[in-house]
């Protein structure tokens, strides 16, 4: 947490490194169009860290691939604008993209074994980008690869450089993938679930590695994950996605201190925490994520939401900004690892007012009297249980 006071939200005075506007990605499937990413807007300041959180199928990976232009051409269309340092990514041709991938944007994928070439020595894979983009000789690329391996914490890099991916453990492989991504010193690194396939201890090591490398190289980082715990201490701003939309976007401390979107709250509460007693009942999100080819008309989360009212089902709420006064960061006052409704009531503004807006997409934001009333009504009508689980969809 080197620079918590800064946020990933690009201020008016600063040119954003990446500006995504109204990005919409549609898959044309046999059962009709599937809008995997639906009108996403965000921007990222140079050197900032953005977390993207959502369940499987929320469109977070498709969004990152749309930005990188990694999706296949057939049966997929992306519209909107993606400006990387003023360059419109959407208009680039194949050759221009090849020049962008590596020195400008790089990506780390979830499955390290699947993203490495199994029949190519590690050194060669790490040095490949350098040979292409920097025109290095084989010898120079090897020397650079050796340095990179050392930087990403591979023990005995001299020996490892001539090994194949299968000879390494999962954590080591992910370090290699990171070394490849870092080789050409990209200005933006997108890490798509970089630690999901890994153990907790290795996960901590890899996240630390990403953070130190990001700080050293002054790189921007987009960290995509389904685990709120992963983004908590390691990002400046967080986007929460549901059914292809941004449902909440806020500076990290604000988000965790003052959640407004019922989905974020539900996601947060469903995480088992070490600080809870053993056998503590976990709060679950009832129901299933919506089928992407058959989305509900109103708020996409309404069928699973404990606050949902008729309005939510009829009309989709817009992404609106939270009033600044209510958006206090009271993190210092509350107990670690726990979050309670009453935290929202004490409006102490001692937490250092964050820059960057807090956006959410809800008619009955969490912590407001309206939401409490809505919840009461739902319990009374039998739609939601006392524990806040949706019994029957509205």
């Amino acid at each position: 947490m080197t620079d918590t006071s800064m946020t990933g939200f690009a201020g008016a005075d600063e040119q954003p490194l990446l500006d995504v506007a109204d990005l919409r990605t549609t898959f044309h499937t046999a059962v009709g169009p599937l809008v995997a990413v639906d009108g996403v807007d965000w921007s990222l300041r140079p050197g900032a860290r953005l977390g993207v959180v959502g369940e499987s199928g929320s469109g977070k990976s498709v969004m990152s691939r749309s930005i990188m232009r990694l999706l296949p051409k057939s049966r997929v269309t992306s519209t909107g604008s993606v400006l990387f340092d003023g360059i419109d990514m959407m208009s680039l041709g194949r050759r221009e993209l090849l020049d962008m991938w590596g020195p400008q944007l790089a990506m780390v994928f979830q499955d390290p074994l699947g993203s490495l070439n199994p029949v190519m020595k590690i050194g060669k894979q790490v040095g490949e980008g350098l040979r292409v983009h920097r025109d290095l000789s084989a010898r120079a690329a090897r020397a650079a690869a050796l340095d990179l391996l050392e930087e990403v914490g591979i023990p005995e890099p001299h020996r490892r450089i001539d090994e194949y991916p299968h000879q390494l453990s999962g954590g080591m492989r992910q370090r290699i993938v990171i070394a490849i991504a870092l080789a050409c010193s990209p200005r933006l690194l997108i890490a798509d679930e970089p630690t999901t396939a890994l153990d907790v201890t290795v996960q901590a090591q890899i996240l630390d590695l990403l953070e130190t490398q990001r700080a050293e190289r002054d790189m921007s980082l987009v960290l995509i994950t389904h685990d709120l715990g992963v983004v908590a201490g390691r990002t400046d701003e967080v986007i929460v996605m549901y059914a292809g939309r941004i449902v909440e976007r806020a500076p990290t401390a604000t988000l965790f201190g003052n959640m407004r979107m019922p989905y974020t709250e539900a996601l947060f509460r469903s995480i088992p925490k070490v600080t809870d007693d053993s056998h503590a009942r976990l709060e679950i999100i009832g129901g299933q994520p919506p089928r992407m080819t058959d989305l509900p008309t109103g708020c996409k989360f309404a069928p699973r939401c404990k606050y949902a009212q008729e309005l939510c089902v009829a009309e989709e709420p817009a992404l609106i900004e939270a009033p600044a006064a209510a958006d206090s960061n009271d993190g210092g006052a509350r107990r670690r690892g726990t979050w309670r409704d009453d935290d929202l009531d004490d409006d102490d503004n001692d937490g250092g007012a964050p820059a960057g807006a807090h956006l959410y997409r809800c008619f009955y934001p969490v912590g407001t009297p309206e939401a409490a009333e809505a919840f009461e009504r739902n319990v009374a009508s039998g739609r939601v249980s006392e524990a806040g689980v949706v019994i029957r969809a509205s």
Partner: protein, 570 residues
């Protein structure tokens, strides 16, 4: 840490695994020491959490308890019954009481089968065992049972032999044999009906087979078996030169035997015509009988395979006949074969449907327990479900035979957080409802804490710490437990990150460190840790640790090197 000892075991436990050792052979005559002396026990209705990094042997331990495979040494007792000494049949009878839930729900469910069959499968196996046990009442039934067992046992080898034989003979000898036979027909009138029904009776086949032929076949079988038995039996533990020499010698010997058999009959064509055909047919007849006796096991496709192999054999029978007779024989035999196949298939389907109907109420019941609507789900296939629902199906399959112990091997690791919460709550509910006894294997301590009554931390094939979860998580006694705790990502931006404190990787289990296995990554390691392996001992009531310098008690070193990051409440 990471030591041996049994101080933490209790009396009157439902499951007790003692000094489990699992070793796997590796290349170059080395060994992987996957589990080295782990002792665990479980009281009835208790959940034991087994935590550790990947490669620490936690899954291997879970599987060793279920004898999948049996541990290299050590004992596993369930309700006083020793599992490691059971023969395969007795073990199969115990299996319904011990079930497993796997990490990846989609790949642990057969994608080609319907949900109703997948869930009912353990019931069929359990029922089959029960009927076989009760059917042993009278001596006639006992012989019937033995015969059935024999036929079942023979089913797979017979299928292999039958297929291999039909293909080999058809391709290699067909023309030769048919030619010789056409020149010198000796098919008598007694053999015509046999040819018509597609397979001669066992008696005819035996009569045709001369004593010399039986001898010859023994030679052939021996020749075929020898290299196989040598290769399959612990080839991994023999060094490479010895193994290769063994294969060369036995292959040479079997080649010689095959050649002797061939020359003693004056060629394969003669062998076929002088009774080999009858013997081959006999083999197929026995196999067909076996598949009809137990169609569920043989499967419809197995029956069909045999019948088609028999059609190939008919070519030999009709080769010497007049063209007109040949046509009639072929047409009639095709009709007979088709009718026979239909009959077998109908019998097979009837059996399957009856079994399905018997199992249906129970399948519905467990599906409802795990929160899946039986009417929607019964006739769908596993890949039509999401990960969380598929994991519910795995749980239903484990529950259906009313097990005493369920081993859950990372059941929520591949699921989204929200789905993970649903599955964890479900397990908790089922435990309260049915009094399940669970072994819960996971690498996420928060998850383990949530479900467990007792937690055992494993490192590189050894136990580090065994304790109640709340005490362990408030104040870890083992440096490794503390390191694991520091690694958990906290959903709290102000939680201190465990940065830089989680060093190193698991050493190779082929070459584990001396003394305490954790010493290479332990911040408190001293000379004693390298020389002497720590024994499991009770350092506080209910807290068992295998460490020379546990983090709680008078001798505790200062808790500075691994800060208590992430353990917010402590």
């Amino acid at each position: 840490m990471a030591g041996s000892g049994n101080a933490h075991l209790r009396s009157d436990a439902l499951l007790r695994a003692q000094d489990l050792v699992v070793e796997f052979p590796a290349a170059g005559g080395r060994k992987v020491y996957a589990v080295s002396g782990v002792s665990l026990d479980l009281m009835e209705g208790e959940t034991l959490g087994l935590v550790g990094e990947s490669g620490c042997g936690k899954s291997t331990t879970g599987r060793a308890i279920l004898q999948l495979p049996s541990p290299t040494s050590g004992s596993v007792q369930v309700a006083g019954q020793e599992l490691t000494e059971l023969d395969p049949d007795a073990m199969r009878e115990v299996r319904p009481r011990l079930q497993m839930i796997y990490q990846d729900p989609i790949s642990s469910l057969n994608p080609r089968r319907r949900v109703r069959d997948i869930i009912a499968e353990p019931l069929f196996i359990a029922l089959e065992n029960v009927t076989r046990r009760t059917a042993m009442a009278t001596w006639q039934e006992r012989i019937g049972g033995l015969l059935q067992t024999l036929l079942e046992r023979l089913a797979i080898p017979m299928r292999i032999v039958g297929l291999a034989a039909s293909v080999a003979f058809a391709l290699w000898i067909l023309s030769e044999a048919v030619e010789e036979r056409a020149a010198e027909p000796w098919l008598g009138w007694t053999e015509v009906p046999a040819a018509i029904i597609g397979f001669p009776a066992l008696a005819i086949a035996l009569a045709v087979a001369a004593v010399g032929l039986v001898l010859g076949l023994t030679w052939v079988l021996l020749a075929l078996m020898l290299p196989f038995s040598l290769m399959s039996r612990q080839f991994g533990e023999v060094s490479a030169p010895v193994g290769i020499a063994g294969v060369v010698v036995t292959t040479g010997a079997s080649g010689f035997m095959l050649w002797r058999t061939w020359s003693s009959f004056g060629g394969w064509a003669k062998w076929v015509n002088s009774g080999g055909l009858g013997l081959l047919t006999a083999v197929l007849v026995v196999w067909l009988a076996a598949s009809i006796a137990n169609p569920e096991r043989a499967g419809a496709s197995g029956v069909a395979t045999t019948l088609s192999a028999m059609v190939v054999l008919q070519v030999f029978y009709v080769a010497g006949l007049d063209a007109g007779v040949k046509l009639i024989v072929l047409v009639v035999s095709i009709v007979v074969d088709t009718l026979l196949l239909r009959w077998v298939l109908r019998r097979y389907r009837a059996n399957r449907n009856a079994a399905r109907e018997r199992a249906e109420p129970r399948v519905r019941e467990v599906l409802e327990y795990v929160g899946i609507n039986p009417d929607d789900a019964m006739d769908r296939r596993p890949w039509e479900f999401s990960g969380g629902q598929a994991q519910r199906l795995s749980i239903a399959r484990a529950l259906v035979s009313v097990p005493q112990v369920i081993i859950c091997d990372e059941p929520v690791s591949s699921l989204d957080v929200s789905v993970q919460a649903q599955i964890l709550n479900l397990l908790e509910d089922l435990k309260n409802l049915m009094g399940l006894t669970l072994v819960f294997i996971a690498h996420d301590l928060a998850v383990v804490k949530n479900v467990s009554d007792r937690v055992a931390v494993m490192y590189l094939g050894k136990l580090c710490e065994v304790s109640e979860p709340d005490a362990m998580f408030d104040e870890p006694a083992h440096p490794y437990t503390e390191m694991l705790l520091a690694a958990i990502p906290q959903p709290d931006p102000e939680a201190e990150l465990g940065s830089g404190r989680i060093d190193g990787e698991l050493p190779s289990p082929m070459d584990p460190p001396s003394g305490c296995r954790f010493r290479t990554r332990c911040p408190h390691a001293a000379q004693r840790c390298a020389d002497e392996e720590p024994e499991m001992r009770e350092i506080a009531p209910g807290r068992f640790v295998a460490c020379h310098t546990p983090l709680i008690g008078e001798t505790a070193p200062e808790r500075v090197e691994i800060a208590s990051a992430g353990r917010g409440a402590s």
